[in-house]
Structure formats: C-alpha cells, structure tokens
C-alpha cells in the first residue's frame, strides 16, 4: 500500500507542476518554483520524460475494443487503439478517446463513505469499515441480496455470479440502457427462433455488396460501432465493387446518412417492409414465396409503411440480384409491440437469399473464450425485480457498473422502490444518480486504473477475451470491487469465502484454461509468462476463424405473428428515441464528449427534439423553442430542432442527457426521454418504447441549442443564391 500511496502522491505533484507550467505559458522562463522528480523505483525500461504504453480494454461500452494508453510519468495522456486487437484493429471511437476524461473527471468519488438516506453529503469511512459493511451484507439472508451489474465489467460480474451462487443469493442481474434501446433480448430470442442458437449473430458487412438495414444504428451504437464502421469502410471501398446501403427507418440517423438510400418507413412497419421485400424477392427468385412471406399483402404493406409499391419492387430487384445481400435487423424498431416479428422477418430475409455462412452474409459468433456466465436480463426481469423490492424481499442492493436510477425508465418505479431496500451499496466511481442516494458508496477504481477482462461477444468471428490492466496507479482512495468482495467474503467466512486471494489471482484463475487453448494468438508455458503476455497484448484471442454458419430452424415455413398494433399511448406523433451516438448511456459526465457534436444534428451539450419542418410549421414551432412532450407516463421539456430528415408523423429525442446528479458537466442538462416510456413489454420481454405516441405542447420559453452547424441559424435558404 505504501508504495502505491507514494506513487499516487507523486502523480498529484507532477500534475501540479504541469498546471503551474501551463498557467505561466507565455511569461518566459519564470517557472522557477516547479520541481522535477524521478521515479523512486523506476522500472528499468522507463525513462523520465519518455512515454510508456499499456494495452488494456475500453470500458465505455460493452463491445470490448482493445486500446493502448500512452502514459508519461505516471499520467495517462492518450488513448489509442490496440492495432493487434482483432475487434477494432487499432481504431477507436469518440467515446473511447474521451475515456481519459472519465479517469481524470473532477467529480469522481475519492474515498468510501456512508450517508443517512436522504442526505447529500457522504461521511468518509475507512476501508476497514467498508469491508465490514460488505461482509455484514454477505452474512445476512442471502435471498434478500441483489447484485445489479452493468455490461462492461465481465470479471466483476463473473465474480459476483460465483459469490452469489456460493452463498445462495439470486443470480446477479445485468442490464444497461444499451440493452433497453437496442432491444437486445428481442434479437437474442429471434436468433433462437430462426437459427436455434444462443450465440450472437455476426453480420459480414465488409464482404456484402448490398445491405439493407432495418434501423439498427450500426455505425453509431449498435453492437460494436468501431468494428461495424471498419466493416462499412470495406463494404464501400474494400473491393472493386462499391457496396450499396439502404436504410429503412423513420428518422435519418447517422447510419442512414451514410446510406445510398434512406427509406422513411412508418414506425413499427420495418418488419412489414422486410416481409414485403422478402415476398417480392422470393417471387422473383423462386417463383413463389415461402410460408413466412406468403401472407404479406404488398399493397397493405405499402400503405402502412408509406413506401410506394414501385420502390418496394425496385429494392427487391436490387436485393434479389445482389451477389452478397445482407439484411440487418432492426434495433429501435424491436422496441415495438411487433418487435420480435420484425426481427424474425429480417432474419428470414437473410435465410431466403441464403447468405448463411457465406462471405457478406450471416455467421454465428463462436462461443466465448471463457464460458459465459450470463445472459443479460430483459426488461421483464427488471419489472419482476421491482416487484420483489416493493414486496420488501430485498434488504441489500449492490450496484456496480450501472446507474439504474438514470438508466431504468421512470415508469419502472425503480427509484421509488428503493425506499424498501435497507442498504443500497454503490460501487460507482462517479457521483451519479444512484450513488448519490446510496447508503454506502465504495468507489471502485476507474476503468483505466483496474484489472479485468471482457468477453467480446459481438462483431467477432474468433473467441476473444480482451484484457484490462491499470495504466496508472489509482488516483484516489478507491478499491477494486473484486478485491473488496473477496476480502469481505473472507471476513464473512463460510460460503462467502472464495478461493482467490485477490483480483489478479481471480483473473489468472479464469484465464488459466486459455493457456492450452489451441491456435491462440500467444501461449504460455507457465501462468506468469502467460499473464505477462495477456497484459502485454491486451487480451487473448484465437488466430483462426471459428465461427459457424447458422442453420435455419425452419422459420421460413412458419407464418410470423406480426402484430398489427403499431402504436401505444395517445398523441398525434410517434416518439422515436435513440441512444445518443456520442454520449451513449454514461458519457455525459465527460466534458469533451459533451462538446463533440452529434453527428446528425451537430448539437452539443444538450437534448433536442427533432421535428419535420412541415410538422413544425403546422404546430408553429421554430428552432430553440422549448416544448413539453407528454405521455401518460410523464412529461419532459426540450428544445426544438427542425430536422429535415424525419417523417412528419415522428419526433425524435436522443437518450443520454437529463442527468439530475452526474457531476458538473452532466447534471441538470437536457432531458431524459426515458421518463416518457410506458411499461408495456413485447413478446421477447423488451420494453415497448419506439411506438410510443406523444403530445407536444408549446411552453413559450426558448432555450438556444448549442450547435456546431451555423447556416440554419441564419434561417436563410441558401438554394436561392
């Protein structure tokens, strides 16, 4: 500990030195009172004033990209992609780049503390007391303990699963706004229905020549946007033939902006359009349509979706004639009452053109490198959890890597239910909505300060276990949650004792089986060597493709049950909610991410409501006017942004802002559209949110949106001149 402490002090001092130097820039050599210090025990490869690079895993989203962090004198200064990591091959997204602003966030929780429910301030405690609190919780009734976990912390989740299993507590619940907004459960269930597999699907965008996307924002947040963008780049320019992308969705997203054609379909009719295209393709190719497409009425589909029959026929011809056609299932549209049917329809389209296991088609990702202990929860599970809490059956709630009070829609009633929990323990690194009401806050290291691993589940043809290691010594008096649980378990005794000394030993135990795994990127004769390589390369992966071709489970012969119910709630406009491509669910506290313009609208630092110019004119709304958006579940106030590329019957709001308590950069900024969601779930157990109807009322207020783009501010039509 002492060594860590001294290094931390050193980092602080070095930081001060830099600040002083930066403050006197331009004043000449007056920085007389700065000091320079060598490391007390500097590794032999480390020179003062020279950068060292550490490979680790980005934890800004669950995708598991490998990154290399440039450090200098104990400070992380730049995130770069890990060029050998097979998922992202040295590339990063804006969120990954800005993860340093998470590490150096001024609003991190610096030490463990407790509070009386309702207070805002924490009373500092030492880690001994913290360990006591956790061990007390572990020794109480295991059935009353619930562990809530996020998606981007596999090793913590794995340990929690083991711990819960050992003491007999219910299995940890894993969820995040990613799951909600991309309706992952629906896709999982559809995959199971169509291909009979639980492995994630791999869409080989790179080798496709015609891709129809039914609304998955695969260049923005869906699955692994970095890998998808790389695939997209190959799709467009990787071979002699330029790939052709058509996107069907009610609002032109960033992905649709890159498409060659954007087909504005009515919300919830994506599956219908896919079926109609399927029918036309089948008729062109096979002469007659299989059962799954037979019953589709093209005219009706055209009327409902707003896509003309000619367009459908033209698109069907292109798709039928393509060498490597690919249909990507909906993401947002899965959150409709008919979501499951829509996803099945699009997957059926792939089965129909038989691109299964072929370049440019569909693959099933291989099993995870180390056995997966999870399948994420569905929204239904959350509703059950809230029911359980309300019934007083939960005494202790552990929350790690997740901000449920913000990420769970208000209609779920999670926040209200917390009154029935005796002890809420948050392991959050940042002051957020959940940790600010938690009774005990035991901050984990931030992502770049901790060990860990992450299974790469999507966008991969090989098993990958991406490894994480600290790139800097912990900045504050934080403690790894795995260590904390292990120590507390040991203290609690009995079944809570797990056979690991600390976090590193736990991870080593997990990766040990991989030492002998065939065709690995590297192998190790002994664990220390293997462990060193695992840290050096930023994880382990197989060299060769071990994916499998999906096999149709006969879904073409089943007429899909596509519900005709297209909307829920009352109101004149559909609400289209999407995960903000830049902020996602937890990026709002990073100042530079806030200042990165949204790709489609170039808005920074706020939430906006996109509305078609025609609708805006009818409702007499102009840019920057604040409107009230109302559903049965709630209402929010948000500034209007007139957006040309959206259906007139749809308004869109991004999710990501609207934090009440998430540090100085995110708090009280923008609005949270999840407040508007109802509580209906679809057949797969995902929340129905994309068919939500809303009412819009003027408030008479104005709040100017901060936009990068300027010409619409001048409110002039440039076409004239």
């Amino acid at each position: 500990m002492s060594e860590k402490l001294s290094r931390r002090d050193f980092i602080k001092l070095a930081g001060t030195g830099i600040a002083v130097t930066s403050a006197i820039t331009g004043c000449g050599p007056a920085s007389r009172y700065t000091t320079r210090e060598p490391y007390t025990k500097m590794p032999e490869y480390n020179y003062n004033g020279k950068s060292t690079y550490y490979a680790t895993t980005c934890r800004e989203c669950p995708a598991g990209c490998g990154i290399v962090v440039r450090t200098m004198q104990g400070r992380a200064i730049k995130v770069e992609g890990n060029p050998i990591h097979p998922v992202n091959l040295g590339k990063t997204c804006a969120r990954g780049q800005a993860s340093l602003h998470g590490l150096y966030n001024p609003d991190r929780i610096q030490e463990p503390g407790t509070r009386t429910r309702g207070d805002s301030a924490l009373t500092a405690i030492d880690w001994e007391a913290a360990i006591q609190i956790v061990s007390d919780a572990l020794t109480s009734d295991p059935n009353s303990l619930v562990f809530l976990s996020g998606l981007a912390n596999d090793h913590v989740y794995d340990l929690a699963v083991e711990l819960c299993a050992s003491i007999g507590a219910p299995k940890p619940i894993r969820f995040s706004a990613f799951e909600l907004f991309e309706s992952q459960a629906t896709l999982r269930q559809a995959t199971k229905t169509v291909f009979g597999s639980t492995n994630p699907l791999y869409f080989d965008l790179a080798n496709s020549d015609v891709t129809y996307s039914f609304g998955a924002g695969f260049l923005e947040t869906w699955q692994n946007p970095v890998a998808n963008t790389r695939g997209f780049s190959k799709f467009r320019r990787g071979s002699d033939k330029r790939g052709y992308l058509v996107v069907f969705e009610p609002r032109m997203s960033q992905t649709a902006m890159k498409a060659d054609e954007w087909i504005p379909v009515a919300p919830g009719t994506e599956g219908l359009v896919a079926s109609a295209i399927g029918k036309l393709v089948a008729e062109a190719k096979l002469g007659s349509a299989p059962v799954a497409f037979k019953s589709v009425n093209i005219e009706e589909a055209s009327t409902l979706s707003g896509v003309s029959v000619e367009t459908l026929e033209r698109l069907a011809t292109i798709f039928a004639n393509a060498q490597a056609p690919l249909a990507i299932p909906p993401a947002t549209a899965s959150g409709a009452p008919n979501g499951l049917g829509s996803v099945i329809s699009t997957l059926n389209l792939n089965v129909l053109v038989n691109n299964l296991g072929k370049p440019g088609g569909l693959y099933l990702s291989p099993d995870a490198a180390i056995p997966a202990m999870d399948s994420s929860a569905t929204y239904k599970d959350l509703q059950d959890l809230v029911g359980k809490i309300n019934a007083g059956k939960v005494k202790t709630l552990f929350v790690h890597g997740l901000n449920p009070v913000f990420e769970f829609p208000a209609s779920l009633g999670f926040e209200a239910s917390l009154a029935n929990v005796e002890t809420i323990v948050s392991f959050s690194t940042y002051a957020d909505e959940t940790s600010s009401i938690a009774d005990v806050v035991l901050p984990d290291h931030s992502a770049l300060e901790s060990f860990g691993y992450q299974r790469v589940k999507t966008n991969t043809l090989v098993p990958i276990l991406s490894g994480a290691q600290p790139v800097v010594a912990p900045f504050y008096n934080t403690m790894s949650t795995v260590d904390l649980l292990l120590v507390a378990g040991a203290k609690a005794g009995g079944k809570a004792i797990l056979p690991y000394k600390d976090e590193v030993e736990f991870i080593q135990a997990k990766i040990e089986p991989l030492m002998e795994a065939a065709d690995g990127y590297f192998n190790g004769a002994d664990l220390p060597t293997y462990w060193a390589s695992f840290q050096q390369f930023g994880g382990w992966w197989q060299n060769s493709n071990s994916s499998t071709a999906p096999v149709s489970a006969g879904s073409l012969d089943v007429a899909p049950q596509i519900s005709t119910e297209l909307s829920i709630g009352e109101g004149e406009l559909f609400l289209h909610t999407y995960l903000s491509p830049i902020l996602a669910e937890a990026g709002a506290n990073k100042p530079w991410l806030q200042e990165v313009p949204d790709p489609a609208t170039t808005v920074m630092w706020n939430t906006w409501l996109e509305i078609n110019p025609k609708t805006a004119e009818e409702m007499n709304l102009a840019n920057d006017e604040v409107v009230k958006v109302i559903t049965e579940a709630g209402e929010i106030e948000v500034s209007v942004l007139v957006y040309k590329a959206i259906r007139p019957d749809v308004v869109a709001i991004p999710f990501g802002q609207g934090h009440k308590n998430y540090g100085r950069y995110a708090s009280n900024r923008g609005a949270n559209p999840a407040d508007l969601f109802g509580s209906t779930v679809n057949e797969a157990g995902d929340l129905v949110y994309s068919s939500q109807k809303v009412k819009i009322e003027k408030t008479g207020k104005k709040y100017p949106l901060s936009r990068m783009e300027g010409y619409t501010k001048l409110e002039r039509d440039l076409g004239e001149h």
């Binding site: 820039t25 050599p29 920085s31 007389r32 060598p38 007390t40 020179y47 004033g49 020279k50």
Partner: protein
C-alpha cells in the same frame, strides 16, 4: 493651498521624494536579484567530485542521447554506487557520521521518497527542446551546461533564450543550407 505649495517647495520634501524613489528602485532590484539567484536544491549534489571521478554525464542523465529529456537518476541509481562504497556501506559507521548530503540521500532512499529537484535549465512549455540530436551532432554537454567539474550544484551558465539558440544554430549550419532551413524553422521548436 499656500501651505501645500510651501511644502512642495521645501527642499526637504524634494529630498524625501528622492529617497522614496531610490528605496523603491532598490527594492525592485533586490526583488529581481532574488529571482535570479540559483535555486536551492534538496541535496547539494557535488557534480565536480563525480565528474572528477571520470563518471560520464550520460551515466546518470542517460536520456540525453536517445530522447528529448536527459532525465534524472533515481536514488536507486545513486545507491547502487554509494551502497558499494565501503566507507558508507560499512555498518560500523553510523549514519549520523556520514556526510550531511549523503544522510539526506539515505533518508530519501530508505523512505522511498522522490527527490524534488529544482530545474535549473528550463525552457517555457511552448519550446520543445530535444537533447538527442544535440548529443548526436556532438555538442558537448559543457557547451550549454558549463564545466561541471568546477561546480557543485548546477548553475545557469547561459541565458537560455531564443536568440542564443538561433545564434548557435546559424553558426553551426552556416555551410549547409538544407540543415539551416531545418534549424531555423519555427516549427522545429514551437508547436
């Protein structure tokens, strides 16, 4: 009014003004002097003794020939030599009888504390100085840092400013226009 005028005309008033100006001026001078004296280092490192023992500069400041920063030795490195010197290592000799500076070093090394050296040669952070090309071109350390065999702690031998850099760059590259273009390019140091 007249009294004020009389006061102003009084010679002692004029003298008082003069004295005040002189005092203020000297105070300013003293202030400037205090900013110019060499900074106090945590350890009065005797460079001269080490250099006279034929220890190369690059032995301790090893970064100078391969990177921008010359670097400072860790106290481990200091202790690697001093630990082997019988005189100090001998457990018979109590620490309190060691030379005072070595006692300090011992304190840092034993307690694992970084030594907070005060930089003597410093360029503003809008100037990016790289030791490597200078050493590679054969510029002797003495050229800028003075003859360390005659100094204990480092002192500022040169006013490190742009005119001095440019002057030397111009002279060294007088016969090589390509090199001169590089050495006098603003972007070589400022970015």
């Amino acid at each position: 009014m007249q009294k004020v005028l009389d006061l102003i005309k009084n010679p002692s008033f004029k003298i008082a003004i003069l004295v005040f100006v002189l005092v203020a001026f000297s105070a300013g001078l003293v202030g400037i002097y205090f900013t110019q004296i060499p900074p106090e280092q945590p350890i009065l490192f005797p460079h001269n003794r080490h250099v006279n023992l034929q220890i190369q500069c690059l032995y301790c400041h090893s970064g100078a020939w391969k990177q921008a920063s010359a670097g400072l030795p860790t106290e481990q490195k200091c202790w690697a030599c001093h630990g082997q010197l019988k005189k100090y290592f001998d457990p018979v000799v109590p620490v309190s009888e060691w030379p005072i500076e070595l006692q300090k070093l011992n304190d840092y090394a034993v307690n694992n504390k970084p030594i907070k050296w005060v930089p003597v040669y410093q360029v503003p952070d809008f100037v990016h100085f790289n030791h490597r090309p200078h050493v590679a071109k054969g510029v002797a350390c003495e050229t800028c840092h003075g003859d360390m065999s005659k100094k204990t702690v480092a002192t500022l031998e040169q006013t490190v400013n742009m005119g001095w850099c440019i002057d030397c760059h111009t002279k060294k590259s007088a016969n090589d226009p390509v090199l001169q273009a590089k050495l006098l390019d603003c972007g070589t140091c400022h970015y």
